[in-house]
């Protein structure tokens, strides 16, 4: 019983909303109708581009495998190092805490403090899947301006962190997942 509940838990909202909408139309409950019209608009907006975005992301994933690129990135310094960590970050997806293990890998491979923090910055504001969704929802102008404004600032953070942490035995710890 518990297992079944757990399995269907994600659908509870959807189901209740479907029932709510149905009842609203049956008894002519105007707010319910209005909300469902809102929902329909958002839904159409979503299905007309998000699935295609994921097709693009999936293709990216097979042509530019992250693991392979990770293998080749590490100690490069200067502009080349910065560009490489930014490119690696752009290929990622997911929340920021997913970037910490990669930061550990970069650290292990001898990446500079600066590049580790540039990686975190780029991870949070330049991930390609995110940029795609952002363009779809907020327009390419917003995305372009936000990206161009953020990029130099995050590189600046990298330099600042390196300046502050140099010679202070900065290290990234390995955190093993508990299961």
């Amino acid at each position: 019983m518990k297992k079944i509940l757990k399995k269907y838990k994600p659908y509870i909202w959807l189901l209740s909303f479907a029932i709510f909408t149905l009842v609203s139309f049956l008894i002519g409950f105007q707010p319910g109708k209005d909300i469902s019209i809102n929902f329909r608009q958002f839904f159409i907006e979503m299905v007309t581009f998000i699935p295609f975005l994921f097709i693009i992301i999936g293709l990216f994933d097979v042509w530019f495998p992250k693991a392979k690129i990770e293998k080749h990135i590490g100690q490069e310094s200067g502009i080349k190092g910065i560009i490489l960590v930014i490119m690696l970050a752009m290929l990622q997806a997911g929340p920021l805490y997913g970037a910490f293990p990669v930061a550990y890998i970069l650290y292990k491979k001898g990446a500079s403090i600066k590049n580790i923090f540039i990686y975190l910055g780029a991870f949070s504001c330049l991930k390609i899947p995110m940029l795609g969704i952002e363009m779809g929802y907020l327009g390419w102008k917003f995305t372009l301006v936000r990206t161009l404004v953020s990029l130099p600032l995050f590189i600046g953070i990298g330099y600042l962190m390196e300046y502050r942490l140099k010679n202070k035995d900065f290290k990234v710890n390995e955190v093993k997942a508990k299961n």
Partner: protein
């Protein structure tokens, strides 16, 4: 909206064709991967759309304009930065919210600040971050990024 669909559909079709022409197997694997990822986010995404549909009905636009609009000033900025720092909303799900806020009268500054803190500052995940980087570094990084997010918001608002 229609434009969006046209752009994303044509880009994905062109890329798929090019990729298919070069390597069939890889392309199929990629499509499968993409659709799996879509499947994984579909339900949470729909849930957020329900929430947004409700919010847009319940919260009148003038309230959003007052607290998050162009004239909300420092208060709007503070609300955006603090909520963004605390909330743990997956990025892809936050975009419908951001788009709704802008349509209802929130300013670009506020939305850009909210999005940036959301992605860059994590109070809830701070304990995990401390495990990786140590207390001092994690706290410095979050505080620094908090202020940078506000700067980004202000600059984006200034330009747009």
């Amino acid at each position: 909206m229609i434009n969006n669909a046209v752009i994303f559909i044509s880009v994905s079709v062109v890329l798929t064709l090019v990729s298919f022409f070069i390597d069939r197997k890889k392309t199929l694997a990629g499509l499968k991967k993409g659709l799996m990822m879509f499947k994984n986010i579909a339900i949470p995404f729909l849930n957020i759309l329900i929430l947004v549909s409700l919010l847009i009905y319940v919260v009148p636009p003038d309230i959003i304009q007052e607290y998050l609009g162009a004239k909300s000033g420092a208060l709007g900025l503070a609300i955006a930065a603090i909520v963004g720092s605390i909330a743990l909303i997956p990025g892809f799900i936050s975009y419908p919210i951001a788009s709704m806020l802008i349509k209802q009268g929130a300013s670009y500054t506020v939305v850009a600040t909210f999005m940036t803190t959301l992605m860059m500052v994590g109070i809830v995940t701070l304990p995990l971050e401390i495990k990786y980087f140590g207390k001092k570094v994690a706290i410095i990084r979050n505080i620094l990024n908090f202020f940078i997010a506000v700067v980004i918001g202000l600059l984006v608002g200034l330009i747009l």
